[in-house]
Symmetry: C2
Subunit: 425 residues, 2 copies
């Protein structure tokens, strides 16, 4: 079947009736399918369970370097965990601090410190008249809610092929001193799956910013989350910043939440040696140190697995078919109908799906009434405000293949119904 907009009103009405019948039959099934969050499925979580046997009561609680992990101390984590993350961040281990189980906490706390104590010797952000962040969109809802929470004004910039629209970004940061940061999910971006190009990385590193306390919040959450064996390469932002003479500009974040245990993994922050020293002295008021036993568990686990990469292939084997299932159902139901577009990421956790303008909220709501939960429409935009009401984030990792099959079929029916209603209106 082809372009729906070419159909006569009569044909559209007939089609709508059929769709509504099918929709009603799905409603009768009392489905309860959740595709709202980027949540690993239980098979993925199970991959890391052997880790739980790697630090036991038989062990001496010591790292290979001889550090006691049972007692206090080690504010920045054990050396071996820093080495592990230094590979993800492509920096020196001394540029890494290991945190607790959540990289969101490291991002939140970085902003909180900037608010209270300032950045780069400048006035605390909370004492400056206005603080603004650039938010490439569509983007990650938790970044946006952090900004909202801290009273940071969000300026949207389009995420285009290869990263944010850099002409726009450069114009903004060069002219507005109140712009203090930009959120970036540079690899398999949430939700579009895009990977920042070398040119974008270079321009982010090199651009002149009016604010001397400007920071790039580089949330590399999916750094190693590829579907294929020939992953996309992301240019090293730390090195690019260093070479551009802006060595302190970037704060990188990552975690093993989608590598080991979503609630019990490790998080880390990386930056210039100078920034890291400063953060260490600041967090010494906040903690005696992170959970080193869990770090040792992780270090031993990846040793046993061979490498992080080997472990991530197991994840890819579980979730690749889920993404393919989504593409298969979308193709089957929506191909050529000119009522939706979607991107095919090569890694990460999401599929970015666009309806006709003004349809996303209705689609999400209709799907919900049939028991299929999607991320709220608008969530991928600051203040929950998608100006065209068309972006929907699909998170296919958590449901089973069978559930996904049904969930996407329901989604497609909802998209068709809402689109036809729009055309008929």
């Amino acid at each position: 079947m082809g372009d729906i907009s070419q159909l006569s009103k009569e044909d559209l009405k007939t089609k709508l009736e059929h769709l509504q019948e099918t929709y009603t039959s799905y409603q009768a099934k009392n489905l309860s399918l959740d595709m709202s969050r980027g949540k690993p499925c239980s098979e993925q979580v199970d991959l890391s369970k052997p880790m739980l046997n790697l630090v036991t009561s038989e062990d001496e609680l010591k790292t290979p370097n001889g550090m006691d992990v049972g007692n206090y101390g080690g504010i920045d984590g054990i050396q071996e965990a820093k080495v592990l993350f230094s590979k993800i961040f492509e920096v020196e281990p001394k540029q890494v601090i290991i945190g607790g189980n959540s990289s969101l906490t490291l991002m939140h706390d970085s902003i909180a410190r900037a608010m209270l104590f300032g950045v780069n010797g400048e006035k605390p952000w909370s004492q400056q008249e206005k603080i603004k962040f650039i938010c490439p969109t569509p983007g990650y809802d938790r970044h946006f809610s952090l900004c909202e929470w801290f009273g940071i004004e969000m300026i949207t910039v389009n995420l285009i092929e290869g990263g944010p629209d850099m002409d726009e970004v450069e114009k903004l940061v060069q002219s507005d001193e109140s712009i203090k940061g930009i959120w970036c999910v540079p690899k398999y971006s949430n939700p579009t799956g895009q990977v920042y190009s070398d040119e974008v990385v270079d321009r982010l590193a090199q651009m002149e910013t009016k604010a001397t306390d400007f920071r790039i919040f580089w949330d590399n959450a999916y750094a190693i989350h590829h579907f294929s064996d020939h992953p996309n390469q992301l240019k090293n932002i730390d090195q690019a910043c260093h070479e551009a003479g802006h060595g302190n500009r970037v704060l990188q974040f990552a975690s093993t939440s989608k590598v080991t245990f979503p609630g019990a993994g490790l998080s880390a922050i990386a930056s210039s040696p100078e920034n890291i020293e400063s953060i260490k002295s600041q967090i010494s008021f906040q903690t005696i140190g992170p959970d080193k036993i869990n770090q040792l568990r992780h270090v031993r686990f990846f040793e046993k697995e061979g490498s992080l990469e080997e472990h991530m292939k197991k994840h890819a084997d579980i979730i690749r078919p889920k993404f393919e299932k989504v593409f298969e159902r979308l193709e089957l139901h929506l191909h050529g109908k000119e009522i939706a577009t979607w991107l095919k990421p090569e890694g990460g956790y999401f599929i970015s799906f666009n309806t006709l303008e003004g349809c996303a909220k209705k689609v999400v709501s209709l799907a919900k009434e049939a028991g299929v939960i999607l991320t709220g429409a608008g969530a991928t935009y600051p203040y929950g405000n998608d100006p065209f009401d068309q972006n929907i984030r699909i998170a296919p990792t958590y449901p089973s293949l069978e559930e996904l099959h049904v969930a996407i079929d329901v989604l497609c029916i909802c998209v068709e119904i809402v689109s036809i209603e729009k055309l008929l209106a």
Copy 2:
């Protein structure tokens, strides 16, 4: 031997020479003994190692209530962990939030939130002209450095028998709107070991404060850390505040850092249901939730141990002899000489030791030169400033009995030397 101050100058000089010879002989031993921090010894840490076998790859990662601990979620912790801490705090489980591995983080973050977002609907503390905290002294150095870090002015109030001098506290909080908090270590206070009396608890709960955004920071770090089977009872501050019509006044903190693993335990905060709801909504921007696998480990462990109390008896059996060793050596060397006093706590981690006025810094420094590290003199006072330069905190838990024997002998010699030098000056 009796009161040293009664000796003639000649006798003092002879005695000093002998002491200096002994001191030199200790120096020759190249000792390296650390009594600076309240750090559990390895035998204590080992008590909890069986916990590491209680969540393994064979397990379903589920709580008794059916919650999945392997995945995201549960911002306030698993129900069973809340029940565990509710017993320590003597509150309802719904009044508890489980944190990461460090109660210091919960205290730090509580202040950070007050700074940025305010308390009780009042202006954020960072936007008020001046913020002050009452600091009963001697007290815990990390509380004081937190205040210094956040720019909070510290007002010292004497810690007397049964708690802070409440006449003074009441006078202060009734008259000064900028006083927003008081630090309390109500049981086996750090470092004096005192337990707050019922009267002090009631007066803290009932007192009128000029600031409507006043909070008691109730760091109940040693709530269950008794030496005897007939522990001191601490009146329930949460209930007392509730009954006094100040239900939101108190924030309680505790952790298992000195119960299970100092670096890998659980921390928790307790307060009124209203405060807890507010904190939960605030931290939802900061984390998806704490490490629930570690919580499950802890819950299973205490089930197996019988109870928290049973487990703590094992700790007491290890550290009680260490405290007794310190008292024995102090008695032997210093009894009746009228150059030092010390308290005999019935729980906790410290012994508060007072020299003659103006001697503490010299004693700590002299001991250090003989390889015995004590907490820095002055650390038990805000800004590191002990007005009488006489308080020394002894932390006897980490060294072995043999090491303690030597360390306290060295301490006593240093005290005698510095005291005689003072008398001769």
